[in-house]
């Protein structure tokens, strides 16, 4: 069955220049391997189609049951240049939580 990431993880995001980061944290340790398998950099790039201009990088933090994503070209130049409401990428994290992944019943 499909589950929204919001049911399996929590998240926080921030910025570095024109790059938004999303830290995706498993709500329970046993969910972490699901995230590693299914929430790939390629899948996240597809999820944000039209919202970012650059590539997506992924880093693993098994110690924190977390993944860190860097979304390049996400902030219309970033910092003070950006015209976006979310110029610092603060809520990109919750947009990722809309993604659905496959979970065994």
């Amino acid at each position: 069955m499909k589950r929204k990431l919001a049911d399996l993880a929590h998240a926080r995001s921030g910025d570095k220049g024109d790059t938004a980061n999303i830290g995706l944290i498993a709500l329970k340790p046993q969910y972490y391997s699901l995230l590693v398998k299914q929430v790939t950099a390629a899948r996240v790039a597809r999820h944000f189609t039209g919202m970012i201009t650059g590539k997506v990088e992924r880093f693993e933090l098994p110690n924190l049951h977390a993944l860190n994503f860097l979304l390049h070209g996400a902030l219309d130049g970033g910092g003070t240049i950006s015209l976006k409401t979310d110029a610092q990428g603060k809520v990109f994290s919750t947009a990722l939580l809309r993604m659905e992944i496959e979970v065994r019943k």
Partner: protein, 460 residues
């Protein structure tokens, strides 16, 4: 020589310039602490302060720091609490003089030693550095600083914990710095307290992680925390974080008893991943911390233990934060009501863009958002939504240009839409938007040996 304490408490009192005014007072009165750490400097803050200093040589620091210190000076003097703050901006010495004067007014003359850390300000040295083969290339674009040299407003190297620890060692009770890293303000007191060597890379990394966790104030103690956010108690009375550190580099995150908020593995983890890059390489002037080695454990109510942090040697570079004048921007908004709120807002956007085009105005960017519909989550937001039922939408259009003229003209094109555009529109009470100067950020690196920090003591 006095023996070293088993633990030391460093309290986070300010996560940015503009953070909760009550926090420092609550941190020094709510329970025992040894240090109060206050972070004031965002990337663009330095250019604002540089501008203030160019108008008045006595300014150029975070003036709110003086107001906040006036309130707590008698308490910290009595309890022996020390303070580290990067409130000095581009005039740490001026900040220290103002604080000394405030201390004298409070009858604390002769009772305070203020340490001043300088050496970060490179603005006056830029041409010399560039002439000697330091191009200060933009870390994102690779372009040399020469491209924008004539528009540079401020340039500061990020100093680390070293000079903070040195000032404490020389007897400073309050350490005021310019552009010292947020993490250095916490690591400095730990190095000083426990006598950590600058090459004790694991300890340096641990102190850096401690600093990173508390540098955003309550953002690690329940503020902005998504997990079970409805059940986080009493945020009105939120407790700001305190690092309770031990000499072996392990530390606990705690907050004062009776305060609100929550310190648990979830709240601390959210802060650890905030603004994270490559977690294996969190680079500071002091060393490189590996965030994949951090172990967190709940060690009691509102107490999280952090251990296992590994570090690597510091690099031979320092980051330089340069601010330069970029151009102008303005943002205009209007609110459209049901029925067809989103459709009306979209129509207004099309009309506005047509008029800007017909006027021959040239912009580097025109950016449209529909708040209440898709501003923050883009196309993802509207997937399962009955768009016609959206009760209201705020149209928000921003423009950016190198010249002021087109931006100024844009600000006069919003209000007319109320009478000559799509119907059911309101929300223009704020008046015409103002063109705003854009000060942009230019990150660069410089060889460490080109930057010498210095520490000076001032008696109040």
């Amino acid at each position: 020589m006095t023996s070293r304490p088993a633990t030391v408490r460093v309290a986070g009192g300010q996560g940015f310039w503009g953070d909760w005014l009550e926090a420092p007072y609550r941190q020094v009165t709510g329970g025992p602490i040894d240090y109060l750490m206050m972070d004031y400097l965002a990337e663009v803050t330095m250019s604002i302060l540089q501008k203030q200093k160019s108008r008045d040589p006595a300014r150029g620091y975070a003036t709110d720091f003086i107001t906040q210190m006036e309130r707590i000076l008698p308490i910290i003097a009595e309890r022996g609490i020390k303070v580290t703050a990067n409130a000095g901006g581009v005039n740490a010495r001026g900040c220290a003089m103002a604080l000394a004067e405030a201390a004298r007014q409070l009858g604390l003359g002769g009772k305070l030693t203020i340490g001043v850390v300088t050496g970060d300000d490179l603005l006056g040295r830029l041409d010399g550095l560039m002439a000697r083969g330091h191009p200060l290339k933009n870390l994102d674009t690779g372009r040399p600083l020469q491209d924008v040299r004539d528009r540079v407003l401020s340039a500061n190297a990020y100093l680390g914990a070293g000079p903070v620890a040195l000032a404490l060692q020389r007897g400073a009770e309050i350490v005021i710095t310019g552009r010292v890293t947020d993490t250095g303000l916490t690591l400095g007191p730990l190095m000083h307290t426990f006598g950590w060597a600058p090459e004790a890379w694991d300890r340096i990394a641990a102190g850096t992680v401690a600093g990173h966790i508390i540098e955003c104030g309550a953002q690690c103690s329940g503020g902005n925390c998504l997990k079970n956010w409805k059940r986080i108690p009493d945020l009105a009375n939120v407790g700001y974080p305190i690092v309770e550190a031990r000499a072996d580099g392990t530390f606990d995150l705690i907050k004062h008893p009776g305060t609100g908020g929550r310190i648990d593995v979830a709240s601390v983890t959210e802060q650890l991943v905030y603004e994270m890059g490559d977690p294996r390489e969190y680079i500071t002037p002091d060393g490189v911390a590996d965030f994949t080695t951090i172990q967190l454990a709940q060690a009691g109510r509102d107490r999280v233990r952090v251990s296992g942090v590994k570090g690597k040697p510091a690099t031979d570079k320092l980051k330089v934060s340069i601010a330069y004048f970029y151009g102008y921007k303005a943002v205009g908004t209007l609110v459209y009501a049901w029925p067809d709120a989103l459709e009306k807002a979209k129509a207004a956007d099309r009309i506005l863009r047509q008029r800007l085009k017909d006027l021959g105005l040239e912009f580097e960017a025109i950016h449209t958002e529909f708040l209440g519909a898709s501003a923050t989550h883009g196309p993802l937001a509207l997937k399962d939504v009955d768009v016609a039922a959206i009760p209201e939408v705020q149209l928000r259009v921003g423009v950016r240009a190198r010249a002021e003229k087109p931006v100024d003209r844009f600000t006069r094109e919003i209000a007319p839409l109320i009478l000559n555009g799509p119907p059911s529109v309101t929300g223009f009470a704020g008046g015409r938007p103002k063109p705003e100067e854009i000060v942009a950020y230019w990150p660069a690196l410089i060889d460490k040996h080109m930057v010498q920090s210095s520490v000076e003591l001032i008696a109040a």
